[in-house]
Structures are given as C-alpha cells and as structure tokens.
C-alpha cells in the first residue's frame, strides 16, 4: 500500500503542501476532443508493455467478477465438504477449516472486490474532479478553502480514521465500507487534478472560449475536463487501487461483515483459524495474492499512463553492441 507512483517529481507548486506533478506533460499541450484522446490512449496501451500486462490482469478479474459460475462450480458459502483438504482436482485450492471450497470462495469473492473498486473509484474520482477543477477554475477564496479542505484530509492519516469510523459503525457491510472509503480518500487525486487544471487555465483555447462569452460551467465541462481525460483515468485507477487495499484491510481486521464472500473476509477467517500455523497456508496466501495481483493491475496501468505522458520515464532499451 505504498504511495502511488507519480511519474514526474514534485516541483513545489504554489507554496502549499508539496504536491504532485502538474500532470503528464503530453496531455496538456494541445487541446484534443475526448474521443481522440481515448483513441490515443488505446494505441499507447497496446504499445506499452506495462499497460498491456495491466489490462490483461484486469480483464481476467473482470471476467471472474461477471461470470463466476463459469469458472467455479461450487457454492462458496456451503460447508459442504471435508474440512482442511489439500489441493486436488476436485478442489483446486483445497477446502477451508469449515469445509468450504476455497477456489469457489476466491472466484466468487472477486465480485465484491470489483464492486468496491469500481464504485469507490468512480465516486471518489467524481468528487476529486469536482473539487479539484472547481478549486482551480473558481480561484480566489473558493480555491483557498477547497484546497485547504483537500490538504487537511490529505494529511490526516486515513487508515486510523477509517478504523475509527468503521468501529463506531460497528463494522458493517459492503455499503458502509464503500461510503466510508469514498468520503475519506478523494483528496490525493483532487490535488493532482487541481494542479493540472491550474496549468490549463491560461491556455489559449480557454481564453478564446471566455472571449466568446461561454458560460463558466460550459468551459469547465466541455473544454477543461475532456483535456484532462488521461489524468482522470489515472485518478480513477489510483482511487480503485486504494479502495481495494483499504477495504480488504478493514475486512481482514474484522471490521467488515464476516459473512460476505470477499478476499478480505477470507483472510479474516484464515487469520482466526491460525491457517499459517496449522498447515493451511493456501487459505491465507491465495486471497492475498489476488489482492496484490488486482492492485498490481491498477498500479501497472497507472504507471503506464505516467510513462505515456512523460516520455522521459519510458524504459530505455539499450541496443546490445556486438563486438566486431
């Protein structure tokens, strides 16, 4: 759960809390309609190895979330089998101490994780766009207060705050988790978006729009936001990554609903049954590996976007010089 890998280093901006890059250099240069930007992204993804790897991983998990029944045939919640069986053709990962098929739990649990990732990702990104762009465009007192709000939330350690809130809510189902994580984790990406929006403010096409007499809202929605598409996508990936890590951590320590099917709750049960100490390591290793893999998918895609935006970061491929 380290910091998201931001490509360009922190040149201190506006003297506020040292923030992040003014956005990938490429995206801000010329103004592109949204669909061109997306097509460009598509091409970039195909040519970048990291992006390709990330996309493939993500697609696998999406498939598992949408069609779990095709991959795993057992009911994940049914205590139908002999407990603590090892790996076999009948049980690809063995069974838990309660006699549930682990493979089925893993596959069916994907749905819960993906829902959290996407809902929180979208919602948090939505808030971040709203606040970041509003702060940048409205400027003045609005910018000051919104930025302050963002910075304060950025600095307050989120995980302890999540623990406290979840504790007061006496744990709770997926909905509580989604709400709580969304409300607290938008600040990092809001900062990024604000920085980029700020750097766009003075661009010619925006001046032109203002001179034309377009309304502020029009300018924001039609001109600014589409130009920031790649950063918004990157922000979504960041927020989705955090959602997955935060949510599974909360479920792991018992602040989620232990009766839901999810990777985090699998880990909770594994820990409670001392899975590692009693010869059932798969119970703990498999869901954790999945969380890491999904997180890696988001992180790889994020990283790839940074490289696409900032050519300086692209991997240097040295040609092998053969001796004559």
């Amino acid at each position: 759960m380290s910091m998201p890998i931001s490509g360009v280093p922190t040149a201190p901006d506006t003297g506020q809390l040292p923030g992040t890059a003014p956005g990938p250099a490429g995206a801000g240069q010329a103004r592109l309609p949204a669909r061109h930007a997306l097509a460009r992204m598509g091409r970039a993804i195909r040519s970048n190895r990291k992006a390709a790897a990330g996309t493939v991983l993500l697609a696998i998990f999406l498939f598992a979330a949408l069609f779990p029944g095709l991959i795993a045939h057992d009911d994940p919640g049914a205590d139908a089998y002999q407990p603590k069986l090892g790996i076999s053709t009948a049980h690809l990962l063995g069974t838990t101490a309660q006699g549930q098929d682990m493979w089925a739990q893993l596959v069916w649990g994907t749905r819960n994780v993906m829902i959290i990732a996407f809902v929180v990702g979208l919602a948090a990104t939505g808030i971040a766009v709203l606040i970041g762009v509003a702060a940048a465009y409205l400027g003045g007192l609005w910018d000051g207060s919104l930025s302050l709000l963002t910075d304060v939330l950025l600095v307050i350690p989120l995980f302890p705050l999540l623990i406290i809130i979840a504790g007061y809510a006496h744990g709770g189902g997926t909905l509580v988790l989604i709400l709580v994580i969304t409300v607290t984790s938008w600040s990092y990406t809001a900062r990024q978006l604000r920085s980029q929006a700020l750097s766009l403010r003075k661009r010619d096409f925006l001046e032109a729009a203002r001179v034309r007499g377009e309304r502020r809202l029009y300018i924001v929605v039609v001109e600014i936001i589409p130009t920031m598409t790649s950063l918004i996508v990157a922000a979504f990936l960041t927020n989705a990554l955090y959602a997955v890590l935060f949510a599974s951590s909360l479920q792991f320590i018992g602040l989620g609903d232990p009766n839901t099917q999810s990777w985090g709750t699998m880990l909770y049960w594994a820990q409670n049954n001392a899975a590692l100490q009693t010869g059932q390591p798969m119970w703990a290793l498999a869901p954790g590996a999945c969380i890491a893999a999904l997180g890696a998918a988001f992180a790889l895609l994020n990283y790839a976007f940074d490289e696409i935006g900032n050519p300086a970061l692209r991997p240097v491929r040295r040609k092998r010089v053969t001796r004559a």
């Binding site: 049914a78 101490a97 009766n259 409670n272 059932q280």
Partner: protein, 555 residues
C-alpha cells in the same frame, strides 16, 4: 552518500545477526522452566493486567479467588458436587433446610501471619450484605442472617429453603480478613493490589505484563503448595498465547486453539488437551414472537439442525453436540432420563422437520421459504456475538441447515455490548447464547433458562431467561428442588424438567460449551484428566485453580 549507505547496511546486518542468534536460542527450549516447581499459565485475557486483586471485582476474581483467597468448602461441579472442606471442616443443615451451620477450621493464618477466626467469616458475609455491589454470587438474595454461634461455629439463616445456594455461599464466596477490610472506606472501588488471604499464594510482584505468585509461607496445609512459583502472563491476543503454549514456554493452557492437533499436540508427546463440557449453547427463540411461539416451528428447528456438523465445522469438534433435554453430557450423564429419549428423539432429520411444518399449515413458497396461510414467512434474524468467530461459523451452518427445510435465518453479528443489550431486553427474534454460570448439577443452568424469576417483559432486563418463557408448573419444580437435600428427589425433579425441555422446547440447545484446557506433563504431574476430574481444569475457573495448583508437583 555511499558511505552512509554502507554504514546503514552494516548496521542492518548486525541487527539481523543478533536477532537471529537470539531467536534460535530464545525459541523452543530455553524458555521452558528448568526449575520444575514453577508453572506458567497461558490464558488469554484480552488485556494487560491492572494489578487489582479484589475478590469482589468481577474482572479480577479469576486472578485472586483460589490463588490468594479461599472459600469455606470446595465443591467440584465436575463430580456432581463432591465436597472438600477448606476453611470449614464440617457443616450441617438445620430443620427445614432453612439454616446452615459451619464449623470453622482452627489454626488457619492469613498470609500476613494474623489468625483467621469465625469472626472473619461473619464479617465477610455481612460486608456483602452492606455493599450489594460486592455480592457477585447473590448470596443475600437467599440469606437472612449470618452470625457466630459458638467458639468456632457460624450459622446462616435463609429466607426460604435454597439448598442449591450452598454452591455459591460455601463454594464461591471468598473469605477476607476483617482487620484489613474494615479499614477500607470504600470497599467497592478498593483495588486490593496487595491482597492478604488464607490461600496458598501471595502476589509478588505484579506488572502489566505478568503476575508472579509465590508460595504463602503461612498456608494452613503444611507441605503445600509444592509449586512455589506461578507465572501468569497477560496476553492480548489468542495467537500469542497459543504460541507460548506450543513452544513449551507455558505448561498450563486455557486456550481456544484452532486445529489443536497440528498446532499443539503434534509438537510433543507430553502435550495434551481436554475440554470438559459445561453448559449448553442454545438457539434462543423469542417466545413473544407469534411464529416462534408455535411449538411446532421450534420442533421443526430442533429436527432440522445438524448438531454434529455445527460441532465439527463451527467448533472444530471441540464442543460436542447438545441434546434437547438440556442435560450436558458426559458431565451430567447420570442425570439423563433415558426413558424420555425413546419418546422424544430429536436427531438430525430434515424430512421430519418439513413434515412437522406441513402439519402446522406451512407451505413452501416459490422463494424456498415456508409460509402459513396468512402469508407470514418463516424468515427470522438471529443475533450473534460477532467477536466469537466460532459462533459466527456455527451460525453459518445452522442457517444452511434451516434453509434446507424452508426456514430463512439471517445472522446479525453484533458487538458484545450491543448483543447483551439486545438479549437482555428481548429485542431479538432468534439469538445464540449460553448461560454464564455453571454449577454441580443440571439444576443451575436449567433454572436460569426456565424459571420465570429470571425473565422480564420485552423492553426490561431479563437476567437469565432471555426467551421469556414462563410456566408456573415449571417454577414449582425448581422451588421443590431448592427445598430438598435428597439426591433421589433431585433426580426425579430434574427428570420432569427434562420433560419440559423435550415437550415444550423453550430453547433449542445446539452444542455444549466447554472449559478450555491444555497441559504439558513433561516436568509436572498431578494434572486433572478425564479419568481424574478432581477440579474444573481451566486456569480461569475459580476457586478450582487452587485445587489444581495444590495437586501439581514436579516429576
């Protein structure tokens, strides 16, 4: 920069090396007690010690009653109430069983050298009368007076016959020294950090992380205790306590250990475990709920639950299946009325459950839930303590069992505080819980469940009868039992109570809760075993822990 990096790497390597060498040495082996008259306890209490030892403070009783303070008599609940005289050498019930006279042992000293006299006994009981908050066992709900009636005799008078109260009054009430407690201005908040009692141990010293008990030189049983030192570390997590047991650092465990064979007993041939059953863990229906008030619905549930599976899956096989008669076996097998099991045989039989529901007018709906002619569905929520993962797992099995016969049960896992608030006030449909007190016969648990004195209307606090069961005939059975000292009469009455459990099903016992107990006999002998259950073996049982410590000796 490079130099800094090199230094950093060197430091890290050095630390790791030191740590590894310590790890190998400090792990298995060197931690075990070379001095074999020391025993270390492994009982996870969930918190660090507060170093308070008042025997009247509910959170401290397990650390002090038995170790430092003693009761008048030791009553063994695992051997049907077998008694061992402690501070009282003999006792006699008066006419009508409304008075009880104890002869107090002579030549007993407190750990500060002062002599213990009958005056201390009288003082202790009257202290509880004066400060009801100290009366943890509720002695004064049945006592009317306690006085000294001879040079070494104390007579207790009762409001009404309450023979079973002997277990609490004689067996669970610790005797405290008058010369110390009479000087305390507020005994309710008195921490008693340097406790003085007649028991075999003194506290010396107590830190947040560990309590060390050392032998009391003035102890009245000469030559005892053979174990001169007891270490009682504080554990805040189950896994840490289990670890210390499995590595041999602690010899006396009172732990819930998942997969105990591979975690514990496989590590050494001297590691053993025994889990004696004590009380029933039951599915509790709220009898004020119109659907659950129908005895046929409860009967169907009793047939639908696969208790074997709940025991093996939810409790790893540690807690044996319960029976609908509510008699805990094998602890109280001698009380089981075998003639009744022929008539009411509540075994796992989902087909019969469906049959009974059909005969009660329920039909299976298209959603897989049974509903009656009025359209009321058999769909309930069951409250559970979310913290107890084994209970959560057990309820998952029960929910699956009941779903198979068309009863939908949704577990609602609450925090401890929310759960107790809900169950006391009757704000639930179904609940999963057990009684908190255990006694030397089935009377104690069953009375708590079924006597209307323990219940209250919905919204008010019911102390023990959560399901709101009330039947004057059943109440009469319990008061008859309380008036009698005849064993045969007691058995006859309990048989009738079993009939109530089997025909009226006020609660549905699922599995039997147990005492958690592990022991390592590589250097110590004298442990309680299934063939020699001379005391309740968990370290948290009081005052039974004293008996265990008095029996232990080095090999």
């Amino acid at each position: 920069m490079r130099r800094l990096k090199a230094i950093g790497a060197l430091v890290a390597a050095g630390v790791l090396a030191a740590a590894c060498s310590a790890g190998k040495g400090g792990g298995s082996g060197s931690g075990t007690t070379k001095a074999t008259n020391v025993v270390t306890i492994s009982n996870e209490n969930g918190a660090l010690w507060t170093c308070g030892f008042s025997p009247f403070n509910g959170s401290d009783t397990l650390l002090t009653v038995g170790f430092v303070y003693e009761p008048l008599v030791y009553v063994n609940a695992l051997q049907n109430g077998k008694t061992t005289p402690m501070l009282a050498t003999s006792w006699q019930w008066g006419a009508g069983n409304t008075s009880l006279t104890f002869t107090i042992r002579k030549n007993v000293k407190f750990s500060d050298g002062t002599a213990m006299t009958p005056a201390d006994v009288v003082y202790t009981f009257n202290l509880l009368k004066k400060y009801p908050a100290l009366d943890l066992t509720g002695d004064w709900s049945v006592l009317s007076s306690v006085t000294q009636t001879g040079s070494d005799q104390v007579t207790m008078k009762f409001k009404h016959a309450a023979v079973p109260a002997f277990y609490f009054i004689a067996g669970q009430t610790p005797i405290v020294p008058q010369h110390i407690w009479s000087k305390i201005s507020n005994p309710v908040s008195f921490a008693d950090s340097k406790p003085v009692g007649t028991g075999p141990y003194k506290v010396n010293p107590c830190t947040k992380q560990n309590i060390t008990y050392t032998a009391n030189p003035h102890y009245w049983q000469s030559g005892l205790p053979k174990i001169t030192k007891v270490q009682y570390p504080a554990f805040t997590s189950n896994n840490t306590a289990n670890d210390q047991l499995a590595s041999g650092q602690a010899q006396w465990g009172s732990q819930y250990i998942p997969s105990i064979k591979s975690f514990y007993t496989a590590k050494s041939p001297s590691f053993h475990y025994w889990f004696p059953p004590t009380v029933n863990v039951s599915l509790i229906p709220n009898l004020k709920n119109s659907l659950l008030a129908n005895v046929k619905v409860r009967q169907a549930m009793a047939y639908a639950i696969d208790r074997e599976k709940v025991s093996s899956i939810g409790e790893s096989g540690y807690e044996p299946p319960a029976n609908q008669a509510g008699i805990v076996t094998p602890t109280f097998s001698s009380w089981l009325d075998s003639s009744l099991t022929g008539k009411y045989n509540y075994t796992y039989n989902p087909a019969k459950a469906k049959q009974i529901l059909a005969s009660a007018g329920f039909k299976m709906g298209s959603d897989g839930i049974m509903a009656n002619s009025k359209g009321q569905k058999l769909s309930f929520s069951v409250i559970n303590i979310g913290d107890y993962s084994d209970w959560v797992a057990s309820m998952q099995v029960v929910a699956q069992n009941l779903k198979a016969v068309g009863i939908q049960v949704t577990p609602d896992n609450l925090t401890n505080t929310d759960f107790t608030a809900a169950i006391y006030t009757g704000k639930f449909q179904l609940a999963y819980y057990d009684q908190q007190t255990f006694g030397p016969s089935p009377y104690y648990e069953l009375r708590n469940w079924l006597d209307s004195a323990g219940t209250a209307p919905i919204g008010k606090t019911a102390a023990t009868n959560y399901e709101r069961y009330s039947n004057p005939a059943t109440d009469k059975l319990f008061s008859q039992y309380a008036a009698s000292t005849s064993v045969s009469q007691q058995h006859a009455i309990i048989n009738q109570v079993q009939q109530v459990m089997l025909s009226q099903l006020p609660i549905i016992p699922v599995v039997q809760a147990v005492d958690w107990y592990q022991w390592d006999d590589s250097s110590l002998s004298g442990w309680p075993t299934p063939s020699n259950p001379y005391a309740q073996p968990a370290a948290y049982s009081y005052p039974d822990a004293e008996q265990v410590l008095l029996h232990l000796r080095s090999k």
